[in-house]
């Protein structure tokens, strides 16, 4: 089925407004877990929606009625990659800077007192980029394999394997660190 693309400018803007409302939290969450602080997550979210706005009409035309969330996350993904390349820096710890800018809630407050959750977040930040991103998409954004595959430009099968390996690697890291802690 081919998506009917509005030709009227006001209707197109209304559609974009709806997209923004529905997915601003997804884009922000993804950005936050990628860059590790609210300040840069805001910038990344803004840039993502600006780019999305520029190409929205074409995206609607080419989506064939499929959800646009993977397309949005892919924009954020590419911008985040540029962000690191331009600034030549690595992602920061997701917990460390969570409270710098006020937000309705922060990961810091959510995991407070939960050492195991802190260990998981720390492990996530140490995973290879593709594995970390796949986990963020699955668990923070609730995306299914097909959506993640579209966002990462991979096949469904390759995405399934990627997720499986990411979980196994993370589980191993958390378990190893836990054993080291208890052995001290």
């Amino acid at each position: 089925m081919v998506e009917e693309v509005p030709t009227d400018k006001a209707e197109l803007d209304a559609r974009f407004t709806e997209l923004y409302r529905r997915h601003v939290r997804d884009v922000y969450s993804y950005s936050y877990y990628r860059v590790g602080n609210h300040y840069d997550a805001e910038d990344l979210t803004e840039q993502t929606f600006l780019q999305a706005y520029r190409h929205f009409e074409r995206a609607l035309r080419e989506s064939d009625g499929r959800p646009l969330r993977p397309w949005l996350i892919r924009i954020a993904h590419n911008l985040a990659a540029n962000f690191y390349r331009d600034r030549s820096r690595k992602p920061e710890s997701a917990i460390e800077d969570a409270g710098l800018i006020s937000a309705p809630h922060t990961t810091e407050s959510l995991v407070e007192g939960r050492e195991e959750l802190k260990a998981i977040l720390e492990g996530v930040s140490q995973l290879p980029d593709d594995r970390r991103e796949a986990l963020i998409m699955r668990f923070a954004l609730g995306m299914d394999n097909r959506e993640i595959a579209r966002a990462l430009g991979r096949t469904d099968g390759a995405t399934k394997v990627l997720l499986h390996r990411a979980i196994r690697q993370l589980e191993g890291m958390v378990s190893t660190n836990g054993n080291e802690e208890s052995g001290r």
């Binding site: 803007d13 969450s29 937000a103 979980i167």
Partner: protein, 116 residues
């Protein structure tokens, strides 16, 4: 799937809780976009903003909180405008100029309107 795996995935889901954007993110986006479109058309050609439809048309309806373009906003515009010549002299290209303008807006908006 083993229960160990299921438990770990549950923990993972708990650790990677979705993060709500600041309530005023949309308002700040609007401010920046208004400034971008109104004060920097010439500078922003490199960004192809001239080819865009007016972003205010979607940012404004999407705003979760209503803000007015008050004195603070005007001050941001004024301060960013006042450095136009300096930025132009420092820039190596139109793209560089556009980036400098955007950065100036960010800095001024955060300084003058920290709660927006």
């Amino acid at each position: 799937m083993s229960s160990g795996t299921t438990d770990f995935e549950a923990l993972l889901r708990e650790a990677l809780t979705p993060v709500d954007p600041p309530e005023d993110l949309t308002a700040r986006m609007e401010l920046k976009l208004v400034n971008l479109t109104e004060l920097a058309q010439e500078e922003l050609e490199a960004w192809e903003l001239s080819a865009m439809r007016d972003p205010r048309n979607w940012v404004r309806p999407a705003a979760a909180v209503v803000i007015g373009a008050g004195a603070g906003t005007a001050l941001v515009v004024l301060r960013v405008r006042s450095r136009h010549r300096t930025r132009k002299q420092q820039s190596s290209s139109r793209f560089d100029l556009a980036q400098r303008t955007l950065q100036d807006i960010r800095v001024e908006a955060r300084r003058i309107l920290p709660n927006r």
